[in-house]
Every structure is written in structure tokens, then in C-alpha cells.
Amino acid sequence: MTAKTTSGKMPRMALLVHVDMGILSSLQSALAERGFTTIVARDLPTALLAITQHHFDVAIVSSQLLEAGDGWPLAGVLHLVFPKAVVSVMAPSEPDVLTLQAAINYGVREVYEQAKPAKEVVGSIVATLENSSFSSGSNRSIIQ
């Protein structure tokens, strides 16, 4: 069954991939407030399954799932599968040069420090998503 909003529009879908339940929960609440239907995954197999079953407008992936840096290739896959989606990565600390390089090379739009409040993260992502709806150019940015 496919969910629809009362206006008949398809709901915007978001994928959250993080091992921390607290972070997942706060991001999910913030996304729900902005009208997103959220699919949550705490590991790579669940995330891959979700990719085969949904179309995502937004994805937020932890840079670290099982070990440091293993979230980046998943973010890259999400960018390839959903080229118009805003794919973001949550990093444990403030981004450095190598983090920025990884973001560029994996096609990630934004890197957020994990400590950033969920509402701010989601607000920034929604703004990026809305900008990219009106522009065919790149709207990637980096938020700390």
C-alpha cells in the first residue's frame, strides 16, 4: 500500500541510518514535524533493504555504522540510486579537510556534526531540498 497525504501528494520520504536510538528518535520527530515519512535503519542490511523498497527524497547517514567511515559508501550508494535526493552524513566531530573531501567524492550534500540539534539539521536539509526543487544547479553546503 502506498501512503498519500490528504492533498493527494505523495509524502516525502526520509531514510535515517544510525546506530544510536536517541539520535534516530530526535531526527525522526523533527522530520515528522516537517511532513516526512521516515524509514529508520540501524545497520547496513536494513538500510539496503529500505533502498530497494522506497524512493527517498532525503537520507541522513551516520559516518560510522559498524566501524569508522563505513557510512560513507552507503551515502555514496544513496546518491547514485536517488540522484535528486539530499544525502547528508552525520559525523562524530567537526568536519576536517578529509571529511569534506569524502563528502565531495561520495556526492554528499551536507555534513553535520552529530551534536547539532535535530531540528536545525532537518531545517537545513528541508531548505536545501526546497532550493534544489527550484534550481537545477548544485546546492550542496556544509553545516557544522
Binding site: 535528486k84 579537510v97 569534506l100 565531495i104 548544485s138 550542496r140 553546503s141
Partner: protein, 135 residues
Amino acid sequence: MHTMVLKRSVLLVDDESSILQTLRLVFEREGYEVATAQSSAEAIGLLDQSGHFDAVVTDLNMEREDVGLEVARAALKSQPKPAVVICTGFASMANSRAALDMGVDYMAHKPVELKDLIAALNRLISRYRDIGPFK
């Protein structure tokens, strides 16, 4: 039956002629049609005049620090948009952030692993040809 294969074109931009020559040989061996520029001004001129390149690979520090970002910016405005790659030995927070913000497709730190650079370029160009720019 003839199969038409579109040759891939790349604009290489670096103020060091030895690097430019090496990259030219490598990319020609990979089957690319290669144009070169030894300054950002020359590169931007080529982008304005010569029309389309499938890819633009630029150094960052040439006439002045981070001037390669101007080449990247000009390339990103081209239609159809080429794959834009920055190669630098002087990556900083400021220039990396600027590259990310403007939508550069790939950033390689010198010394560049040529195998990785060619693989990235081939992947980006194939994808652009299949579905168009996706950033």
C-alpha cells in the same frame, strides 16, 4: 552495422607543464580527447570559446592561491555541465568547503593516484551521459 562511440573529452588545467604533459599522455592513452591550459584565465577562455568538455580537471593554486576554484565555477556553469575535478596539493578547510558548496564532483589530493582519478572520471562521465548531471 557501425557502432558510433563518442570520444570523451577532457580539459586539463595546471600551471606545471610536466604535470600537464603526464596527464595528457595518461588520458590520451585512455582514449580521451585532451585540451590543456596552463592558467585559469586560459582555461576559462577555452570553456567560453570551445563549447563542451565531458570533464574538467583543474589544479587549485596557479596564478594565485585557490584560483582553480574559478575554473571549477566556470566549468559548473557550462551547459551541458561537465564532470568537474579538482586536484590539489594544498587542500584547506576553506577551499574544500568552497568546492563542496559549489558542487565539484571529485577532489583528489596530490600526489594523485592516477588509477583512482581515471576510474572516477570514467564513472562520472558515463553517469552524466546516461542521466545528465545529478548534483
